[in-house]
């Protein structure tokens, strides 16, 4: 058993700023059904605002109380604490002209489901660089609620960060789509390599995870592209401070559906579901919005 205690408490002013900024997430969501503003755009703005404010105010809210964690609980929290395990996968990047590089912005909202306890809601934003219309290299920063059932009531949250390379190995036309009558269908096979970091995911403990995935996606239709994707992969927890970690490997499967070029040529929205095959873990469900800047 391991005992953790939490003492750091942000100032009331800091908490007020963070709470009011992030309240936009909820209030904007409530207006979606009334306003004609595209839901994806509003949500992306809210998530980005939350992340920006959270980073600028510089800290996770802390927790009070104590909790005892088994090694298994600690491992599950560790692999679900970084963006790799906290957020669902998104589809392979849409191919683009080999003549250009593209910058993009990304926003995610994710939660854990499929098991009892808190949903460990997470939000994140990121920047992507698509090299010559193919592979994408991105950085992500976000914030996740802690597992307060285990760590103690009002245990707050923690930041999380990720670097990821999404390498497109093969992009070509799909006979599956053609059989369905769509001759624009495109299939992409790639390799995903990510490194995730979450400082103080449990106070005093840092989480580092590495993952390797093999994403396959199929995009169809001429105008608004419908894309389905599947990403089998492996996630490892690695040492980076705190309790030693060794040889902790788990298989994972990401999947989802998305639309590319929704309302605008650069706007993609993905719904994702991810399962890490570890008995005590649940699944991650979430929404991702990406905006690619066209030259």
């Amino acid at each position: 058993m391991m005992t953790t205690s939490h003492n750091a408490v942000p100032s009331n002013a800091t908490r007020r700023v963070m709470a009011s900024a992030c309240h936009a997430w909820a209030s904007l969501r409530a207006t979606l059904s009334l306003a004609s503003v595209p839901a994806s755009a509003v949500r992306a703005t809210a998530v980005a605002a939350c992340v920006a404010v959270a980073i600028s105010t510089g800290g996770a809210s802390a927790a009070h109380g104590q909790a005892e964690l088994t090694p298994e609980e600690l491992h599950v929290l560790r692999i679900e604490a970084t963006p790799i395990g906290a957020l669902p996968r998104i589809g392979a990047p849409m191919p683009a002209s080999r003549d250009h590089n593209y910058w993009g912005l990304r926003a995610h909202g994710g939660m854990r489901g499929g098991r009892s306890g808190p949903d460990m809601a997470a939000i994140a934003g990121g920047v992507d660089f698509q090299l010559l219309g193919g592979s994408v290299f991105g950085a992500t920063a976000g914030y996740q609620e802690r597992e307060c059932t285990l760590l103690g009531e009002d245990c707050g949250g923690h930041f999380m960060f990720e670097g990821r390379a999404r390498i497109n190995l093969l992009t070509g036309s799909s006979r599956i789509g053609a059989a369905l009558g769509d001759y624009s269908s495109t299939v992409t096979l790639g390799t995903d390599l990510g490194f995730g970091y979450a400082p103080d995911f449990v106070p005093g403990q840092h989480a580092c995870t590495v993952d390797l995935g093999v994403p396959v996606s199929l995009g169809m239709f001429q105008k608004v592209r419908l894309v389905g994707f599947l990403t089998p992969g492996v996630i490892w927890a690695v040492d980076c401070g705190g309790e030693p970690v060794s040889g902790q490997r788990n298989y994972m499967l990401g999947s989802g559906i998305g639309v590319q070029q929704l309302l605008h040529r650069g706007l993609d929205v993905h719904l994702g579901l991810q399962k890490i095959f570890r008995a005590a873990s649940g699944y991650q469900f979430g929404l991702s919005v990406t905006w690619t800047l066209l030259p």
Binding site: R29, D119, S184, Q222
Partner: protein, 371 residues
């Protein structure tokens, strides 16, 4: 932060139901884009029709079939206002060989099928491609001249010709109403062997060709539609564009000049885009990749067309890119542009399977009617 997340959590708690609902909406929305009915131009309002077909140099010897049959039918509906542009690779695999060569008769057959797809009264223009230059071989210049002479011989009263003439790079401009067609031999930039000799009667340096092109794309009247054609595309989601194969993205280092990722191809495209800088043409149309694509063009041109699906045996992969308005792989066909009286330009894609089933697949008003 926690307050915000809690509020959001209520939203996420309905995850599975939300996923199902959103997924259904997404599929339905995307499905609508598949099944929307393409716009069709009113025949009486058409001022001029341009048909783009490329890489048609391998017609089936038993039955040329679609798309040449369909192309003929489209042109024959109003031949007097129709121009058919054959966008290169008019004879596979090596252009027109020496008449003494054993493959000469079959090369003639391949060209004849295309010339016959131009109805009397319509205008047919053949643009050279890399295969017409003896498949980029040493005798390329002579193969181009043989093709030019043979087209004239096979015309039998039709208005068909090869442009640019005599193995010259061009550009050559033709005006018809408010349309200006400009033909460029892009392979001239890429050819590694003889590109001029004592019979050459044109400037044969890159700077002059670029300067002439720069002058020609400058509109000479308000509302003029400038269309530039060459065999090689400026952008493509096909094999020559760095897609459709596991090695394709690495063609930058080991690729052929025929591929967009190569430095020689980059140099050729730089010449064209430098000429387009001040006055981007309305359309740049090319073949080369054996599929059908319509792409967002800026800054090079407003729209980019790739129509290289003229031979079924060649039809192959295409990737739908972020710049793509339309793409179709493994289909044969052509692309049609209708210029409307009083403004308007409708681009439509017609594609077919091997048995000739198919037809109008997609259309888009590139210029709204009456504009």
């Amino acid at each position: 932060m926690t307050d915000g997340l809690r509020a959001g959590r209520a939203y996420w708690r309905v995850g599975p139901a939300l996923a199902a609902a959103l997924s259904t909406a997404l599929v339905a929305g995307a499905g609508c884009s598949l099944h929307s009915t393409p716009a069709v131009a009113e025949p009486d309002d058409i001022e001029m029709t341009v048909l783009f077909i490329g890489d048609a140099g391998e017609p089936d010897p038993r039955d040329p079939g679609a798309p040449l049959d369909s192309l003929y039918a489209h042109a024959a509906a109003a031949p007097g206002r129709t121009v058919i542009l054959f966008l290169g690779d008019n004879i596979y695999p090596d252009g027109i060989p020496d008449p003494a060569a054993p493959d000469y008769p079959d090369a003639v057959r391949r060209l004849r099928e295309q010339v016959r797809a131009v109805p009397h009264g319509a205008r047919g223009i053949f643009v050279p491609g890399n295969h017409d230059w003896a498949s980029s071989g040493p005798s390329g210049l002579y193969a181009i001249r043989r093709q030019e002479a043979l087209i004239t011989e096979l015309a039998e009263g039709r208005d068909v010709r090869l442009l640019p003439e005599n193995g010259c790079p061009g550009p050559v401009a033709l005006d018809a109403g408010r349309v200006r067609l400009i033909m460029v031999d892009t392979h001239w930039w890429l050819h590694s062997y003889l590109v001029e000799d004592e019979l050459s009667d044109c400037p044969t340096d890159v700077h002059t060709a670029t300067d002439v092109l720069r002058q020609q794309v400058r509109p000479t009247m308000p509302g003029q539609i400038v269309i530039v054609t060459g065999h090689h595309p400026l952008m493509t989601g096909g094999k020559h564009g760095g897609y459709c194969g596991i090695t394709a993205p690495f063609n930058r280092w080991a690729g052929s000049p025929q591929d967009i990722l190569s430095s020689a191809n980059r140099t050729m495209r730089d010449s064209l885009t430098a000429a387009f800088e001040e006055n981007p043409p309305f359309i740049y149309a090319a073949g080369h990749d054996h599929n059908l694509q319509v792409l967002r063009g800026p800054p090079e041109a407003r729209y980019l067309v790739v129509s290289g699906a003229g031979s079924y045996s060649k039809a192959t992969c295409s990737v739908h890119m972020r710049e793509s308005y339309f793409s179709a792989h493994n289909r044969i066909g052509f692309i049609r542009l209708d210029i409307m009286r009083g403004g308007g330009a409708l681009l439509s894609v017609h594609h077919f399977d091997r048995e000739g089933n198919g037809g109008l697949a997609w259309s888009r008003w590139l210029e709204e009617p009456g504009s």
